[in-house]
């Protein structure tokens, strides 16, 4: 019986981040929740002690299942029109903003959507998943330099998107003016 409580504690800690990550791969919130359900149950059966050292494997499971689901969904979408629920799920809030963060939340969600998928994946795993570059590289099969580069370009893009808010959020320091790089999304996929 004790194990039943343990999974809930672990699930509460990691599920929001997992759903956020899954949403970067599959189009709607219900799809992301399906992915997280499958991945978590599979992971918990394998690691019922919920050891945090195995959390990267949980993200890897989310990734695998989400990519599989997207492939099968793509085939379905090619046959059928999107339902209203699916369309609404694409725009469900990705964040739970504190008072005063509503605008920031909206801009970040939109900015993430506009990033190339590979950059979006890395920045989500690093910032909200808390994974290291090593763990992300092991998961995606890319080199650590590639992963770190994608992260850097993603941050630059987010920086530009958040520029209108920089005075009130980040302070108007000279270093926050447009960065001395080319447009971030041009350089890496």
């Amino acid at each position: 019986m004790e194990a039943a409580f343990d999974w809930k504690r672990t699930f509460e800690q990691v599920a929001p981040q997992l759903v956020l990550y899954a949403r970067q791969i599959v189009p709607t919130l219900p799809d992301a929740e399906d992915v997280v359900q499958l991945a978590f149950v599979r992971w918990w059966r394998r690691f019922p002690e919920g050891d945090s050292a195995h959390i990267p494997l949980l993200y890897a499971a989310v990734r695998t299942i989400a990519l599989d689901q997207r492939r099968s969904d793509q085939r379905r979408v090619n046959r059928e029109a999107k339902s209203d629920i699916a369309v609404a799920g694409e725009h469900a809030p990705a964040f739970d903003p504190l008072p005063g963060q509503a605008e920031l939340s909206g801009i970040v969600q939109q900015a993430l959507r506009e990033l190339p998928e590979a950059q979006r994946e890395v920045v989500t795993l690093k910032l909200w998943g808390g994974l290291t570059f090593n763990a992300i590289a092991a998961m995606t099969g890319d080199s650590i330099n590639t992963v770190a580069g994608r992260y850097r370009y993603a941050l630059q893009a987010l920086h530009l998107k958040l520029a209108p808010l920089k005075t009130e959020l980040l302070g108007d320091s000279p270093a926050l003016h447009p960065l001395p790089f080319s447009t971030p999304t041009e350089a890496l996929p």
């Binding site: 929001p16 981040q17 929740e33 964040f95 739970d96 270093a175």
Partner: protein, 154 residues
């Protein structure tokens, strides 16, 4: 990898945004699925115990005992060459349950030393498994053991 103070500021800002909480329905779905696992495990354990101790101890014991009894009266067929390499059955367990201890009284040995004779009555259950097909065979039979214990009178 990331030493730019602006990046640190930005990372801090982004991290301050908490991902949206998951729906109660998702938690319930995971709960239901993991609960199914627990139910399945519980049922599986009960079935395993029942199979071992009721079915194996009754039907298999009766059948195997009858087979052993019949085979003792039959001439042994020549064993094929492969039988020597792998045993036909592998012993799995031997369980002995004591049922009674009979005191047969004091006797005197040839050297005229006093001894207490005791009879131990037990029931022994032996189980074998055929490694080729996994068939389990259990034989149960009574067993008597006589003990001679030296005694001294003061």
């Amino acid at each position: 990898m990331n030493h730019d103070p602006n990046d640190s500021q930005l990372e801090h800002l982004l991290r301050s945004l908490a991902p949206a909480g998951v729906s109660a329905a998702l938690t319930q779905r995971v709960d239901a699925e993991l609960q199914l696992d627990l139910d399945w495990l519980g049922t599986s354990h009960r079935q395993r115990r029942t199979m071992r101790w009721l079915t194996a101890a009754s039907w298999a014991a009766l059948g195997a005992a009858a087979a052993v009894a019949v085979m003792t009266f039959l001439p042994a067929p020549p064993a094929p060459a492969t039988m020597a390499a792998a045993p036909a059955v592998v012993p799995v367990s031997t369980i002995r349950e004591w049922e009674d201890i009979q005191n047969d009284g004091i006797h005197y040995s040839a050297e005229r030393l006093p001894e207490r004779h005791v009879t131990l009555i037990a029931r022994e259950r032996q189980t074998w498994i055929d490694p080729h097909d996994g068939a389990e065979m259990t034989v149960e039979y009574p067993r008597e053991q006589k003990l001679v214990l030296p005694v001294s009178f003061q």
